[in-house]
């Protein structure tokens, strides 16, 4: 409930900030508004398609399939599959979280989901190529060699622990229904 109030307050406050910035020619404020417009423009182009894809995933991918490859009875290969899935994820967090929820609902185990989430932050392919070309391939390789095993191990540990605690991923709308 508190969140909702915050949400409905944030818009008018931001609008005031924007009007004030343009009125007084406040540069940082104008830049922030420009950032927001370009960012939300990108997101409006991207998000509807991301959620169409998630809808298709929910409807077409069978629970058994997800359980078989990413479920509780799987071994190390499931983690590698999660990394591969993360590498091809577009849009970062905005895609990774909703998809994680779908994976959870279809029976993927928590360790695999946490691996997917963190790996989606660090090894998306376009981003990696970009990094290697700007900063250097050695830099990127070191990052991969060190971070990926740590991500997998920590995710597996956290996942196994939470699995015992009956932890559940949630979605904003589900929370409301409770």
């Amino acid at each position: 409930m508190k969140k909702k109030i915050l949400f409905f307050l944030s818009l008018p406050v931001y609008l005031l900030f924007a009007v004030y910035s343009y009125q007084t020619d406040y540069k940082a404020g104008i830049k922030a508004v420009e950032n927001l417009l370009s960012f939300s423009g990108h997101m409006l182009l991207f998000l509807p398609f991301a959620f169409i894809l998630i809808g298709l995933f929910e409807v077409w991918i069978k629970r058994q399939t997800v359980e078989q490859y990413l479920g509780r009875s799987t071994g190390f290969s499931a983690y590698l599959l999660a990394v591969a899935l993360a590498g091809t994820t577009v849009g970062g967090l905005y895609m990774a979280f909703p998809l994680s929820y779908s994976l959870f609902k279809k029976g993927a185990k928590l360790g695999v989901i946490f691996t997917y989430l963190s790996a989606a932050c660090i090894c998306r392919i376009p981003m990696t190529v970009f990094e290697a070309s700007f900063i250097g391939i050695k830099f990127t390789i070191v990052r991969f060699i060190i971070s990926l095993p740590l991500v997998i191990v920590s995710s597996a540990l956290l996942g196994n622990y939470l699995e015992k605690k009956n932890y559940r991923l949630q979605h904003p709308e589900i929370k409301k229904e409770k």
């Binding site: 969140k3 939300s40 932050c121 970009f130 979605h171 904003p172």
Partner: protein
């Protein structure tokens, strides 16, 4: 061009889906729309905060903070804190990293910044919280922060930046 590939593939899959089963496809669209709309109350404040941060924690300011620190470990730590708080897309962050490099900033510091930028999201926390619940979201971010620090130190060792300081 690249930005058209994703919508293109999605629409193609949607088309194929409609060919196979119209009812299921409509269901998929409804599910997607429902998820999207229910996420908006979380999503809008996050992008508002992100846009503010991109303006106030901009390229010049980051370049100044990350570029002027004589103590290596302090520089690394502050870089990872800056990376945790900042919200910057890769196409700005990596050229910034290259620029810092050419200004003589250590790989270790750049790594601390870019890795924590990718892995830790202080400002995008509400989004994470909505899916994972507060406690787990905090734990996940904390672990990510530690991993980012370890990566930075390893980068320092790999590029011979730490050993020289210890001898």
């Amino acid at each position: 061009m690249l930005s058209l590939i994703f919508p293109g593939i999605t629409l193609l899959l949607l088309g194929i889906s409609f060919l196979f089963n119209k009812k299921k496809s409509v269901q998929a669209l409804q599910k997607g729309a429902k998820r999207f709309l229910s996420l908006l109350p979380v999503f809008i404040p996050v992008i508002i905060i992100s846009s503010l941060s991109m303006s106030y924690l901009n390229k010049d300011i980051l370049q100044n903070t990350l570029g002027h620190n004589s103590d290596k470990l302090l520089a690394t730590l502050s870089a990872s804190l800056a990376g945790s708080v900042a919200v910057i897309p890769g196409f700005i962050a990596f050229p910034l990293g290259a620029l810092l490099k050419s200004n003589g900033v250590l790989y270790m510091v750049i790594s601390a910044f870019t890795t924590s930028l990718m892995m830790v999201g202080v400002l995008t926390f509400p989004l994470e919280q909505a899916y994972l619940q507060t406690r787990i979201a905090i734990i996940r971010n904390f672990i990510s922060f530690l991993i980012a620090l370890i990566v930075a130190v390893a980068t320092g060792i790999a590029f011979g930046e730490i050993r020289t300081s210890l001898i």
